[in-house]
């Protein structure tokens, strides 16, 4: 190979792209049918995953399944009700919800495993009753929403917390909060899921330690209560 001097081509970052075109990407996940599809419909184990960028910001809010007020037209302050408490958060156009929850509100349960690719489920939260990937949700389009995280589940003594501990659903623990939120979202929609439904629901959450069967046991344990 001949020696050449080159300059590194400048590339558009993902955040710059999102900021410049003002497109909100709804929460989708690779590998799981359970996270919200663009259709906003109730998701079952048999549904295929589709990843769709909505045509407009207004329609992206509608995809969250319940009627929402129009989004704020530009960066500024968004109101988020998180685990029962309301926060007024300063955001820019390209701020994702994950970063608001972690950096401004201080919720460490929201992890960053795949560095914002929407590939791992570790940033999962429940928004207006639906599980979403907070790394793919623009904060300024989440104004007025109600969000639940693992911290809230623990504060409210949700039975999944104890079931997770009893069933050893954690090893390194990095994926655990995202998984427990996904599990709660499943139980909220399907109170008595089958083992297959549970596996399908959590298939969008990556666990490198391989704790998957423990999560199935924990969800089944709670579902019989």
């Amino acid at each position: 190979m001949s020696e050449e001097e080159k300059k590194v081509p400048k590339t558009l970052s993902r955040r710059e792209f999102l900021r410049d075109v003002g497109v909100a990407v709804s929460g989708t996940a690779v590998g799981s049918a359970f996270f919200l599809t663009a259709s906003g419909k109730e998701v079952g184990a048999a549904n295929a995953v589709t990843a769709v960028a909505p045509a407009s910001a207004a329609s992206s809010i509608a995809l969250l399944g319940k009627p929402q007020p129009p989004p704020a037209p530009s960066a500024g302050v968004v109101s988020l009700t998180v685990n029962g408490k309301t926060y007024e958060c300063a955001v820019e156009n390209n701020t994702v919800l994950r970063d608001v929850l972690r950096d401004q509100i201080g919720l460490t349960s929201i992890k960053d495993m795949c560095t914002g690719y929407g590939a791992c489920g570790s940033c999962a939260v429940i928004m207006n009753g639906r599980p979403i990937l907070s790394c793919l949700a623009l904060a300024n389009e989440c104004g007025g929403t109600v969000i639940e995280t693992a911290e809230g589940m623990a504060k409210n003594n949700h039975p999944l917390i104890e079931a997770y501990i009893q069933n050893h659903c954690m090893q390194c623990g990095y994926c655990t909060p995202g998984l427990i939120v996904t599990a709660k979202a499943l139980l909220d929609h399907i109170p008595h899921p089958t083992e297959a439904q549970i596996k399908e629901a959590i298939s969008g959450n990556i666990c490198r330690c391989g704790t998957y069967p423990a999560h199935v046991s924990a969800v089944l344990q709670v579902s019989t209560i």
């Binding site: 300059k7 400048k10 460490t108 590939a119 090893q171 390194c172 623990g173 990095y174 959450n205 391989g210």
Partner: protein, 767 residues
């Protein structure tokens, strides 16, 4: 008298071996309260990131930081040639004497962090500043394939390493036991083949970061490290920072599995972070998002194998000549009676990435797999019979091991026989195994089963200080260890509680802090508890004696047990009791508090030290085995894994729930490595094409059938209770198992891993 801790047994009814005990870290991890280095925030903290190379091999010929430095919010820019970092190197584990620049002006591989570190008020500002750098690269020759790097006339690469490789060879390893040529001559048949192992990754889930904060001359760091002492040591020896003025705090770690934690980059990161924090006079979090994709397996390579075997399956000699980082036959040597073994591996410099002990042991378990599989296939034998026939240690048969067991107080057990008995029964091996290519299924696929077995590891003794106190009725372990997911604090608590007679919940260990550098484990992973357990047992026994001494000690109002001696007392369920009259009890809490000076915070008990040294040579008595069932689609090349059974002889099971979890997770990862996981390079540019969790195929909950986990105990480890480590073992054991299963399914050899559909179809001659 010779110290024989393997003869110790945990007291009946103690927490050791008990199921259902609450994990110490369960609530914090389930609720998200558990902190990882990425979560650490310190007041005034700045962020730092480094330039990532877009080339596999290039030199920075010009670096203009003007625009980046002018960006509001950028606080500092550290160049590789700045005197504060220039020349600082970090050693790699087990790489001989080679040391690598912490911040270099040239890149060894794509996405190598090089050249410059930017400090700014936010991560995003760091990213923007890095994009404003004006970098001129001079691309160099790069080698992705080891064979290309070793070809005559190849351009030298990795020349910045000290000492530099010669002819692009980083290291050559040769081991010889017996006389392989004589062994081949004594054989009935010779089997020769080559197997290949491609790149795969740790894909650790937590992006690496390190936080450094100077408080005057004291350095506080938060690290993600299996072995924090290595960081302390390098900072002290290379940068002159006194160990006594460092507080290295080890947070929980996301998906560590060795590997990333040993990565030289991590020690380099720590050094850079310390420098940056000192320069900016504020805490700095240095983030390395791509680190999880840079730690690759240490078994990648091309292995040329030659086996001499008798017609009954007795293996007379095995040789390996490989282009690889490591040699593949060490565990075969340690765990078989094969008398003649030769292995040579040439580790070629390359521009793929750094690699380091990710789920270490894979190279040797692959070697076991391939040898037993090929011998069985050649002779039409059951591979489990081949393994048992050749069972032994260090070239000697099992009778020699029995003599060793008798001489040294071990139980006389043949671990492999017991493992196979349990595993084959649980798996249904008798019904499932068949001659290769002889069982088509009704669904058009071919049924197959695979098998592998090796010795277990680790069971080494670490001479590490252990310390504990008793405050307000709680035993407090003064320790720093690293959380690799086994609930180390809980496991240590089990052992200490067992030895002291305390309730499990009355033993606490907050293991993240330095506490004067009592390191409970080195490393803190699969072998951590095993390495430390002798020390825990001996020091816990000392602490118990101290409590009993207080129980009979005179005090105002008289002793708690007047007229009694220490020998007449014992402790159970955190209560001191009179052995002859068990109803005569006092709580450990009230006894210790009575002697606590100035209230309840000063412990009257302080036990510390290390165990005596084990002086006998370590032998690997304990074995494990995995059995896998597959269905092979010979049209599409898919290998469906429908069932796995794993059996581990743990020596002594401290925490069965954690062991099962490690077994399952290890197998899940290992079989994924065998079947799917590989890193893909663009051969034209050396760029990694799948370095993210979308394209790198980490298995999900849907990717594998049931994994059935079994534990047995033969107390064969050279540590207290005779226990062995687990976790890493099971992942390594299964990392080539789909190859053996594919052969059983089709009668066709596939010695190219991972066994992806393309490789399957090529092996079948379909493409």
């Amino acid at each position: 008298m010779t110290y024989q801790p393997w003869t110790y047994r945990p007291p009946e009814g103690s927490p050791v071996g008990q199921r259902g005990l609450r994990r110490n870290d369960g609530l914090s991890k389930a609720s998200g309260a558990a902190l990882y280095t990425k979560d650490i925030k310190v007041g005034g903290m700045l962020y730092a990131k480094m330039l990532m190379s877009p080339y596999a091999h290039a030199i920075i010929t010009n670096l203009d930081t003007t625009a980046a430095a002018a960006l509001p919010g950028v606080v500092d820019i550290l160049r590789w040639d700045d005197p504060d970092i220039a020349g600082q190197r970090s050693a790699r584990l087990s790489d001989g004497n080679q040391k690598w620049l912490c911040l270099a002006g040239r890149t060894d591989h794509y996405n190598h962090q090089v050249g410059v570190a930017v400090v700014a008020k936010s991560e995003e500002l760091c990213d923007r500043a890095l994009r404003l750098l004006n970098v001129t690269w001079n691309q160099q020759t790069f080698y992705i394939a080891d064979e290309d790097a070793l070809a005559p006339g190849a351009t030298p690469i990795l020349t910045e390493v000290s000492p530099a490789p010669v002819n692009n060879v980083l290291n050559t390893t040769i081991n010889t036991w017996g006389d392989v040529e004589a062994g081949f001559l004594a054989s009935d048949r010779i089997i020769e083949f080559t197997y290949f192992r491609g790149d795969n990754l740790s894909a650790c889930v937590e992006p690496a970061s390190v936080v450094a904060e100077w408080r005057g001359e004291y350095l506080d760091m938060w690290v993600r490290q299996q072995n924090p002492t290595l960081i302390q040591q390098e900072l002290a020896l290379d940068m002159g920072i006194p160990i006594a003025k460092m507080d290295i705090r080890v947070t929980h770690q996301g998906g560590a599995f060795g590997g990333i934690n040993w990565l030289p980059h991590y020690r380099q990161l720590a050094k850079i972070a310390a420098v940056l924090a000192k320069r900016v006079k504020q805490p700095v979090k240095l983030i390395f998002d791509e680190a999880k994709f840079q730690c690759a397996n240490d078994d990648v390579g091309t292995y040329n194998i030659k086996i001499g075997v008798k017609n009954d399956g007795t293996i007379m000699a095995v040789s390996s000549d490989a282009i690889a980082m490591r040699c593949p036959l060490g565990k075969l040597r340690n765990g078989s009676k094969i008398p003649n073994i030769y292995q040579k591996s040439v580790w070629a410099a390359n521009n793929r990435s750094h690699r380091q002990m990710f789920r270490h042991g894979t190279v040797e378990t692959n070697g076991n797999q391939e040898v037993y599989s090929h011998v069985a296939g050649e002779l039409g034998l059951d591979p489990t019979d081949v393994a048992l026939l050749n069972d032994g240690f260090e070239g000697q048969d099992w009778a020699a091991m029995t003599a060793y067991q008798i001489a040294n107080g071990f139980e006389q057990r043949q671990s492999l026989a017991e493992v196979l008995d349990v595993g084959k029964t649980a798996f249904g091996w008798a019904e499932r195994w068949h001659l290769p290519g002889t069982r088509p299924l009704a669904n058009g696929k071919m049924h197959g089963v695979g098998f592998n077995t090796t010795i277990k590891w680790s069971n080494g003794q670490a001479q590490k200080n252990v310390a504990m106190t008793v405050r307000d009725g709680k035993v407090q372990l003064l320790a720093r260890t690293s959380d690799m997911g086994h609930d180390s604090p809980g496991n240590y608590a089990r052992v200490v509680a067992a030895e002291m007679g305390m309730l499990y919940q009355d033993v606490t260990a907050r293991t993240e802090r330095d506490n004067g550098s009592f390191d409970y484990s080195a490393p803190g992973g699969s072998s951590g508890l095993v390495n430390t357990i002798c020390n825990l047992v001996e020091v816990a026994r000392d602490a118990k004696q101290q409590i009993l001494a207080l129980a009979v000690k005179d005090r105002t109002g008289g002793p708690f047990f007047p007229g009694k001696t220490v020998e007449e007392l014992d402790i159970k369920d955190s209560m001191v009791f009179e052995i002859a009259n068990p109803l005569n009890t006092k709580t450990v809490k009230e006894i210790c508090n009575a002697f606590s000076v100035g209230g309840i915070t000063q412990s009257p008990v302080f036990a510390h030290g290390t165990a005596p040294l084990v002086t006998i040579a370590k032998k690997y008595q304990c074995k494990h085995a995995a059995f896998v069932e597959v269905e092979v689609d010979t049209e599409l090349g898919d290998i469906d894994v429908t069932k796995v059974t794993i059996v581990d002889d743990e020596g002594c099971v401290i925490n069965p729930d954690a062991c099962n979890g490690q077994q399952y997770g290890g197998v899940h990862m290992g079989v994924a490595k065998s079947r799917d996981e590989e890193r893909v390079y663009d051969p034209q540019t050396g760029v990694w094409l799948n370095s993210d969790l979308i394209w790198y195929p980490v298995w999900t909950s849907l990717d594998c059938g049931p994994i059935d986990c079994h534990l047995i105990e033969t107390h064969g480890g050279n540590t207290a209770y005779g226990c062995f480590g687990t976790g890493e073992n099971t992942s390594a054991l299964t990392s080539a198992i789909t190859g053996d299963a594919f052969y059983n399914a089709t009668g066709v050899r596939l010695d190219d891993f991972p066994t992806t559909p393309i490789r399957v179809l090529k092996a079948l001659g379909k493409i």
